[in-house]
Symmetry: C2
Amino acid sequence: MKSGERTDIRQVAKQKFTDYLTAHKCRKTPERFAVLDVIYSDSRHFDTDMLFETLQKDGFPVSRATLYNTLQLLLDCRLIVKHHFEEHRAFYERAGGAFHLHLVCTGCHSVTEYQDAELQRAILNKKIKKFKAAHYVLNVSGLCTECARQLKKNNKKK
Amino acid sequence: MKSGERTDIRQVAKQKFTDYLTAHKCRKTPERFAVLDVIYSDSRHFDTDMLFETLQKDGFPVSRATLYNTLQLLLDCRLIVKHHFEEHRAFYERAGGAFHLHLVCTGCHSVTEYQDAELQRAILNKKIKKFKAAHYVLNVSGLCTECARQLKKNNKKK
DNA sequence: ATGTATGCAAACCATTTGCAATGAC
DNA sequence: GTCATTGCAAATGGTTTGCATACAT
């Protein structure tokens, strides 16, 4: 990654958001841009709690109502994507990144990205009949090395 | 599908469930088998409301607590698989079917299965480093032909 | 000045849990 | 007879909503 690239995508996102808000006659509130800022400076995957807490720590506390409101706007203008790996909470990630799988550990509930050029080619080149595909999500559930080790240890104990 | 095949997989599932319950010292209650029966006589994909209502109609009313309890048992013995296509509710499907993608229409929220031998091979043969993969889910979101047509029509009107 | 966006607290709703009564073994 | 399982009703927890206040325009 070239230096400055991160600032760059953040600026581009900010501009896109501004344009969207203007086009839809929405107000450009500091809360909305604070949320966008955190999303583009933090890790790629996040849930609402992570966002909420990071905003608190950064000194820009935002209510949950506003958080959800803003996330919906960011979904609408396609700056983020929403996932439902697990039951209770939704996960989000920045849009526009490289294609990747999600490795979802059923032990510790962690989510890791995994890139694979071969699978990417196979999936993106696939033409599906009678369907206009927009977005591909490949989730692999299983155990991360740490949880697999723990499980093995526990089985031995019995 | 040959005649009798449906009855057959239902019998096999029943046997597998019985074995599992025996092995885990669980009781073989009529409620549990009523749930399994509905799952193996209805459509492949279902949520808890569909199950609940079908059981009512069939004259085997089962409480929601028991329904969730039984679904967990069926998940444990791998007779069903759980999905989270949408926000609020979980979707289930019978396990053991052929590998398939899910085409999730963002317009009408329908879920369709799609089989593809080539993708199946590419995905199942993939060795992922530092991860013990157990289950693969490939969801493609986009528009079904009907919703794509509707959208096109609406855009013209503007 | 106007009316949208915010924060708070209450509402929602799928799922889970506590507990007394039931029934599989 | 014993104790797992059931059904009910209450609790849980992420997300949404109603409403008075604050503030972007």
